[in-house]
Assembly symmetry: C2
């Protein structure tokens, strides 16, 4: 009688390198681990393996910082070559202090270092950037999987975010394909039939957060998980539905 | 071989009223639904039933707005009696516009309307406030459950939050007991043995988000869910570990 949601973390995806076929790696891991992908499943993929497969990995040794990168390196007390890499994916520098470099990146997210990150890539000077277009990457993975298994599935790519007001990070969606990102309660009734005026849940972010619990961040090496038994509706929109401009942001001026 | 997380939503918890014994209601629902609570389970409870059990439900008809509430009612174009109710749980008004009233509430959260909410309470003028001390409420529920079942469990109380930068809401923790709230990777190595300098995942928020997927917001009436197969460590801290002061907030000035 109880309603049960299951999240399965795949544990045998090999270390991914440039050019790897992620859908094929997922299907092979599912076979090895006796996991079957079924209609309604949501496949959640961490950004890092997508970035690696797409060749978005850079060695600071090959980067010459610009004047702006040198200045921001000073302001943030960070390696100006890293700053140069961050700027290559940056639309707008929001805040630069020794505590961190916050930017709006080319993908539209307000985040630290535009998403540049050296965890789980080999070498002290090697950093990955986010996929250039995570919605498109999600679509390619979804279509690739569907070519092999022909099921109704959705794909979400996730990354780890620091956020205002609260300590520590959570995983959020950076791209998605096939799923409508919200569960919109705004025209439905509550237990007593009253209309819910505000409730509009960003389920893709909630899915991203829960899968991080399975995926982990360090040596767990579980870069893909599968969410089963969740009800969702098809959608053909992308991250532009999620990301607010400063003028739309209710919290503008609140921080 | 795959690592599996299971989230079970209890579907037979009755409508909760003031004075109800939530641990007893959970245990009875588990019996009816053949769900057993085991060592390591995390019990996630939506704020609304805790507020109702604690009598934190108010009728605007009984409220006389103060001068400040009348002014803020004008500024926000909201019922000044609601504003008066919000002010009773408010430490600091952060922003007041027709788009919303953002405050720091007595529980320390920056949020809309201090958490006052009229969904899933009966009557057009009836609103609930958050539990006065959600950590303490979590502890009472945990101890109450443990008196009956004597297992190693944690309790998290959740609420729905609008957040900066992104459209729509997600559920986050507002109180917890028995669990250390972070999975701290800051002194561990990644796949390549490099130290992770920043990663400190707020797992209680990630857990809160997932259970919303099961719990839902409107007529689903699943106010409690149970997370199984997650590894976590015991902790004796509370929400003060999560909530940042403005001076600690990396995003200060970024919005």
């Amino acid at each position: 009688m109880a309603k049960t949601l299951t999240i399965i973390g795949l544990q045998t995806i090999p270390i991914v390198k440039e050019g790897d076929d992620i859908p094929a790696l997922i299907i092979e891991a599912c076979k090895r681990e006796s996991v079957s992908i079924e209609d309604g499943d949501i496949i959640v993929v961490t950004q890092k393996i997508v970035s690696k497969a797409e060749g978005r990995v850079y060695d600071l040794e090959n980067i010459v910082p610009s004047k702006k990168a040198l200045e921001l390196g000073e302001a943030t007390q960070r390696d100006p070559r890293l700053i140069e890499l961050v700027l290559s994916d940056t639309v707008e520098v929001v805040k630069a202090t020794p505590e961190g470099l916050i930017v709006r990146n080319i993908q539209g997210n307000i985040c630290l270092n535009a998403g540049a990150d050296r965890s789980n890539v080999p070498g002290e000077t090697i950093y990955s950037l986010l996929p250039v277009n995570p919605d498109e990457s999600s679509k390619i993975i979804r279509k690739g999987l569907q070519k092999i298994i022909n099921k109704r599935i959705a794909v979400i790519i996730t990354d780890t975010y620091s956020r205002p007001f609260r300590r520590g990070q959570v995983d959020l969606a950076i791209g998605f394909s096939g799923i409508f990102p919200f569960r919109d309660y705004r025209h439905t009734g509550d237990l007593y039939g009253k209309e819910l005026r505000v409730k509009n849940t960003t389920i893709i972010d909630e899915i991203a957060s829960v899968t991080e619990l399975v995926i982990g961040q360090s040596t767990e090496a579980i870069p893909v998980s599968i969410v089963k038994n969740l009800t969702w509706v098809d959608g053909d929109v992308g991250m532009s539905e999620i990301l607010l401009s400063q003028d739309e942001d209710l919290f503008k001026g609140a921080l």
